[in-house]
Amino acid sequence: MADTSDLVLEVKNLKTVFFTNSGLFKAVDDVSFTVKRGETLAIVGESGCGKSVTALSLMRLVPDPPGRIVGGSVALEGTDLLALSEAEMRKIRGNRISMIFQEPMTSLNPVIRIGDQIVEAVRLHRNLSTREANDIAVEMLRLVRIPEPARRAREYPHQLSGGMRQRAMIAMALACRPALLIADEPTTALDVTIQAQILALILDLQKELGTGLVLITHDLGVVAQTAQRVIVMYAGRKVEEASVESLFAAPKHPYTRGLMASIPAVPAPGVAAQERLNEIPGTVPSLVRLPKGCAFAPRCKLAVKRCEAEYPPLTDWGGGHLAACWRAADVAEVA
């Protein structure tokens, strides 16, 4: 991370917890990362590992109660978002930092026209007349390749298909040309063929606008095809961070490795399919009763005494490939 001027986002030791009646959920525990201009950072992990909460923490939209950001800093273009007042933060949301949500079906207000929802986003941050904002909205819809954008702008969300709604969400998020775009599983709810279209679109636009992108997904395939750098989260913690190539070539954390092995592959010509998948035994631990040591230890084949007693620090294993594992060195041997 040489050139700090190029940094759009710098998250340091972010901690977000939920106070619930079953206890304290450390949804995001001591997570740090950076995003450069034009760069795509993917966050992967299984359900409940804290991906969405991380994203919401960046936006300062963690529902309170029960959630609360309890530590760390989030610097967007040098400003610590966590230190801003709510009013100042509002000026930044949707303007410098934007977010696309997982559910295109429910994330648009059903009783407001698509165009008007984009117009609102524009006018909140730019001093424009409705007309000008309207033009921008239509322009944005065209940009996300919605046919007949002017007509679609006057339609309501239910009149659009899932893919189109997600495009409209993207148009809304990008309307103010933010420095950072967070896409929280933007394609999970969509069909594969549509998913490919949307991902390609996001990447195109990102390139065009030079936006930093945080792409959250649980699909390692998506990661491989879109990101430059990857964070793997497990039980609220960052367990591994690396460039895509490095991660896929040689994962340093047994969890990452297990994950990769457990995904069936589309049989490629000539490659015989394996009979059984490699499975990671057990289940993801509850975020309340996290073990003292490594949260993955109970499911880990490599686990040793130390893993249960002591949480492994994130260590650089070369070339900025970070992993939090006592036995990262042995990972390659095992599987």
């Binding site: 936006m59 939209l61 509002r90 000026k91 930044i92 949301r93 949707g94 303007n95 934007s98 977010m99 949500f101 559910e103 429910t106 994330s107 648009l108 207000n109 059903p110 009783v111 407001i112 026209r113 609102e120 986003a121 909140l124 941050h125 309501y156 239910h158 009149q159 969400m169 809304m172 998020a173």
Partner: protein, 315 residues
Amino acid sequence: MFAYLVRRLFLMLVTLFGISIVIFFLLRIVPGNIVDILFAAAGYVDPADKVDLEKQLGIDQPLVVQYLHWIGGLLHGDLGYSYVSEKPALQEILPRIPITARLAGLALLFSASIGIPLGVISAVKQGSRIDYALRVMSLSGLSLPSFWLGLLVLTASVAMFGQMPIFNPNPQSFGEAFATYCIPAMVVGFRSSALTMRITRSSMLEVLRQDYIRTARAKGASDAAVNYHHALKNAILPVITVIGIEAAFLIGGLIVTETVFNIPGVARFLVEAIRWRDYPIVQNLVMFIAVVVVFANFIVDMLYAVFDPRIRYTD
């Protein structure tokens, strides 16, 4: 849309037809009829006179014949004659309608204009002191018998002002008109405003949890914009339904309030007519109420379509 309207109208007619049967036969199984009551006042029954009178009123005929006669008349706009006053039923019912309508309209207005904003506040401030206070207040509103509230208002106004807001058919001044309609309307509306508030609150809470609210916040919208522009627009839908249903309930509430405030509207008239077993009045009045209720539901459905673009009655 047109097809939908026709279908709705058809269903409404089916419902009304059902109501006509229910009310007609329910009334006839009520023991005792107008003749009994007339004679009850006299303290004796002369069987010959009774037969004469029953014949005169046509209630000696088979029920089906009576029913067909009634419905036949209804279709021609002939509602028959009141047994008691012997005037055309229409002439008895019609002048009372505007009174009740005004009362009900004002009550609804009151209910909505108090209930909705308070409901929004209570939802937005969920869990705060204001929320608690508003909820307790609305629940107390729901817990007061309405005749009791009405009597309290009357008693208090006599005690405090030596005056009472009793019905005045020809109010001379604004003050009189206010007393004539607004005070009773507020008494009725108070209860339904509590309901409106509750439903607004829970509907708002539901909506505030929705994804699109988060989207709006992510755009940088202010709390006010989120609550009133994004949330209320969606939350208002169930509120409309409840207000629509309330319109039907109001008539029940009005029975009591019209009695307490001595307002010569249709609601109280209905009670009197039931007491007198004045079939033509009861039947037609109930049909009228049913038409209003059924129409209110219809309007609610239409309003739904207005407020919710997802609903288009195209089929």
